[in-house]
C-alpha cells in the first residue's frame, strides 16, 4: 500500500498489534479528565477514522461499535451514544477510503472534518432528544483540532510501515 495513491513509495503491510495498540492508546487518551475544556479532540474518533480509511477491511463498523460502548461507560454518557456516532463515523470513513487516499494528508483532513462534525451533531441530537441541555458551541471545536491533528497523526500511525524490510543503504525504493 502507498502512503497516498499518488505516491511512488510502497509501504509495508500494517501490523495488527500496532493497529489495536494505537486504538487502545487513543481510548486511554480520551479518558484523560479534561473537564469541559474547549478544543480537546476526540482521539479515539480520529484514530478510528484513520484506520477506517487505511484499512477498511480490518477496522469498520464493529470496531467502532465496541469502542463506542467502552467510551460511553468511561465517560458516563448514555450507553450507545458514542457507539452510534462511531458506527456512523467508521461507515463514512470506510466509504471515503478509496477516494481520500488520492489526496495529500492536509486535503484528507478536509475530507475527515465533516465526518467528525457529523459525529458530534449526532451525539448532540441524541442527547437533546433525551432531554439534555445544549452543551454550547465550544463542543464542536474538538473536531477542528482533531482535523488539524490528522497530518501529524498520518506520519505517527504509518511510521512502522515506512520502515524498510531489511536495512540496506542502497535500496532502490
Amino acid at each position: 500500500m502507498q502512503p497516498t495513491n499518488r505516491s511512488q513509495r510502497i509501504l509495508q503491510p500494517v501490523k495488527l498489534w500496532y493497529l489495536y495498540l494505537s486504538l487502545l492508546v487513543a481510548f486511554a487518551l480520551t479518558l484523560i479528565p479534561t473537564g469541559h475544556l474547549p478544543g480537546v479532540p476526540d482521539w479515539l474518533a480520529l484514530v478510528l477514522a484513520f484506520w477506517s480509511v487505511r484499512e477498511p477491511l480490518r477496522v469498520s463498523l464493529g470496531t467502532g461499535f465496541v469502542f463506542g460502548l467502552l467510551v460511553d461507560v468511561g465517560h458516563g454518557a448514555a450507553l450507545g451514544q458514542h457507539a452510534l456516532a462511531y458506527v456512523l463515523l467508521t461507515y463514512g470513513a470506510n466509504a471515503l477510503s478509496r477516494r481520500v487516499l488520492w489526496f495529500s494528508p492536509l486535503e484528507q483532513a478536509l475530507h475527515i472534518l465533516p465526518l467528525l462534525l457529523l459525529m458530534h451533531v449526532v451525539m448532540v441530537v441524541v442527547r437533546m432528544l433525551a432531554g439534555a441541555d445544549f452543551p454550547g458551541w465550544w463542543y464542536f471545536t474538538g473536531s477542528f483540532t482533531a482535523a488539524l491533528l490528522w497530518v501529524p497523526l498520518h506520519f505517527v500511525l504509518l511510521f512502522p510501515q515506512f520502515r524498510p524490510v531489511e536495512r540496506d543503504d542502497n535500496r532502490p525504493i
Binding site: A28, G74, G76, A83, L84, V87, V126
Partner: protein, 302 residues
C-alpha cells in the same frame, strides 16, 4: 465483509452488505440508548465494564493529577499562611458553635422525649475527594474517589463545608458519580427556612437553580435560605441548599423563582457524602397487610 460502494461478485461474498451492517449496528445502538435512557436496565453491564476500565481511567487521570499537584506545590508561602490564618479563625468560630451544638443536641433530645417524638435517624457520612469532572458535556457530574466498598450508596447527599452540592447517582465499587444540583435533571426537595414552605428545586443551567411549582402568591422573597426538607427519605433535613436571588411573579400561574446554590457546586474538591442509615418508610396501612419489611426504628410510628 465487502467495501462500501463496491458490489462484490457472489463468489467473493464476505458477510452481509455494508448497508445491512450499518442498519444492524445503528439499530443496536438505538436499542441500547432507549434501554439506558428510558428504563435504566443496563446499570449492571455498565458497572462490570467500569470495573475493568478502572485501571485505565486511573492511569489516564495521572496527567491531570500531576498538573494539579504541581499547581499546589508551587503555591506561594504567603498564600499558605493566609489560608492558615483563615482556617484558624474559622476553627475558632466553629469550636464555639460546636460547644453550643453539644448542649443544644442534648436539649433537643430531652424535648423530643418530652414530646414523644421519634429520635432523629442517625446519619452516616464518608469523606471523599472529587477526582475530576465527568467527561459527558451534556450533564453536570463529578466523580468521587470513594465507592460502594467505602459505604457510599446511591441517592446519598453530597455536601461541602457550606451546603449541599449534589447527589450520588451511580455507584461503582471504588468510585461514585455525583450529579450536581445545577444539572438539568437533578431535583431536590427543600423547605424555606423562614416559614417552612415546601417545594422542589431543579437545576436551571448556568450555575443557577429554580424553585418550581409554587403559586405566584407563594411567600418567597429574594434572600430566603432554602434547606433540605428531608421528605424524600434520602437527604437529611436541614442542610442548606440555596439562596433565592430573584422572584418573578407576573408570568403565569406559577412564580419563577431563581436561586443560587450555597455550596461550591462546581468548585469544591473535598466533600462529605451523607446518607441515612435506614430511610424512613411511609406509614403502613392500618391492617398491616403490606408485605414490606419495616426497619425496627419505624415501629414507633403511628
Amino acid at each position: 465483509m465487502s467495501l462500501i460502494g463496491h458490489n462484490t461478485p457472489p463468489i467473493f461474498k464476505r458477510g452481509p452488505a455494508p448497508t445491512v451492517r450499518l442498519m444492524l449496528y445503528v439499530s443496536a445502538a438505538l436499542v441500547l440508548l432507549v434501554t439506558d435512557l428510558k428504563f435504566r436496565y443496563l446499570e449492571f453491564m455498565r458497572q462490570t465494564v467500569a470495573v475493568v476500565l478502572y485501571p485505565v481511567e486511573r492511569a489516564a487521570a495521572t496527567p491531570a493529577d500531576l498538573v494539579l499537584n504541581a499547581a499546589t506545590y508551587f503555591a506561594t508561602l504567603a498564600k499558605v499562611q493566609q489560608e492558615n490564618s483563615l482556617l484558624r479563625r474559622q476553627q475558632l468560630r466553629m469550636s464555639e458553635q460546636l460547644m453550643r451544638h453539644e448542649q443544644l443536641a442534648q436539649e433537643n433530645g430531652r424535648l423530643r422525649i418530652l414530646l414523644g417524638m421519634r429520635d432523629e435517624l442517625p446519619a452516616r457520612s464518608v469523606a471523599a475527594d472529587v477526582l475530576y469532572a465527568a467527561h459527558d458535556p451534556f450533564s453536570r457530574k463529578v466523580i468521587l474517589d470513594r465507592g460502594s466498598t467505602h459505604g457510599i450508596a446511591q441517592g446519598d447527599a453530597v455536601v461541602d463545608e457550606r451546603g449541599v452540592i449534589g447527589q450520588v447517582t451511580r455507584v461503582h465499587p471504588i468510585q461514585a458519580e455525583v450529579t450536581l444540583l445545577t444539572d438539568k435533571e437533578q431535583a431536590i426537595p427543600i423547605a424555606v427556612q423562614r416559614n417552612g414552605l415546601r417545594g422542589v428545586v431543579f437545576g436551571a443551567g448556568a450555575g443557577q437553580l429554580e424553585l418550581r411549582y409554587l403559586p405566584a402568591t407563594a411567600d418567597v422573597q429574594p434572600g430566603d435560605t432554602l434547606l433540605t426538607s428531608g421528605l424524600d427519605g434520602l437527604y437529611l433535613p436541614g442542610l442548606p441548599v440555596a439562596k433565592v436571588i430573584r422572584v418573578d411573579r407576573d408570568t403565569q400561574a406559577f412564580a419563577r423563582i431563581f436561586c443560587l446554590p450555597v455550596g461550591g457546586v462546581e468548585q469544591s474538591t473535598q466533600v462529605l457524602v451523607m446518607g441515612r442509615l435506614s430511610p424512613p418508610q411511609p406509614p403502613m396501612s392500618e391492617e398491616g397487610g403490606d408485605d414490606v419489611v419495616v426497619g425496627a426504628d419505624t415501629g414507633k410510628d403511628s
